[in-house]
Amino acid sequence: GDQVEQSPSALSLHEGTGSALRCNFTTTMRAVQWFRKNSRGSLINLFYLASGTKENGRLKSAFDSKERYSTLHIRDAQLEDSGTYFCAAEAGNNNAGAKLTFGGGTRLTVRP
């Protein structure tokens, strides 16, 4: 079946620095979503992309369907950015009942 490989599984950053999370897909995906897990375990929507890039504050995401990957860039990391981030991709074969396939998550720790 469709697979989403997310890396790294854990990431440690010093405050003020940045890095990128990446998801590779084993098949062509129609769209990708990026989430952050909240304290209760539910998911906060960060980005939804069907192509190209989007930016929101210190976060920027890109999606290349043809090359089968998506990235989430964090710049100027702050302590409150610590948490677990997930990508989830939607295959292109069924718009009516879209199935999101999730990556394994990246646990981000931002240190002073």
């Binding site: 769209a31 979503q33 989430f35 209760r40 375990g41 539910s42 998911l43 929507n45 939804y48 997930f86 989830a88 718009n95 009516a96 009942g97 879209a98 199935k99 999101l100 396939t101 999730f102 990556g103 394994g104 998550g105």
Partner: protein
């Protein structure tokens, strides 16, 4: 504004007992609805989706069933819980072709 509510917040149940988890969406007409499940330490995976009242499609077989009795309501249930049903259950909604939004979740512990 759309709101999504799940109940209960958490549940501790015995193996072999029945289960019913609920999800309601307010502020959106005829949304697509989804159930997801994450075992402890596992990856979140979609269980069911529904595009209209009375219609539910199964994605993963886990000895669970789902129903959509009303446009804004999605129910996940089983008559006999297994230990393997423990985990975190999330309901989500979307419009066709748009991003999915997730509810607060229900944590289920089966003993």
């Amino acid at each position: 504004a759309q709101t999504i509510h799940q109940w209960p917040v958490a549940e501790i149940k015995a193996v072999g007992s029945p289960l019913s988890l609920g999800c309601t969406i307010k502020g959106k007409s005829s949304p697509n609805l989804y159930w997801y499940w994450q075992a402890t330490g596992g990856t979140l995976q979609q269980l069911f989706y529904s595009i209209t009242v009375g219609q539910v499609e199964s994605v993963v077989q886990l000895n669970l069933s789902a129903s959509r009795p009303k446009d804004d309501q999605f129910i996940l249930s089983t008559e006999k819980l297994l230990l393997s049903h423990s985990g975190f259950y999330l309901c989500a909604w979307s419009l066709v072709g748009y991003e999915q939004y997730f509810g607060p979740g229900t944590r289920l512990t089966v003993l």
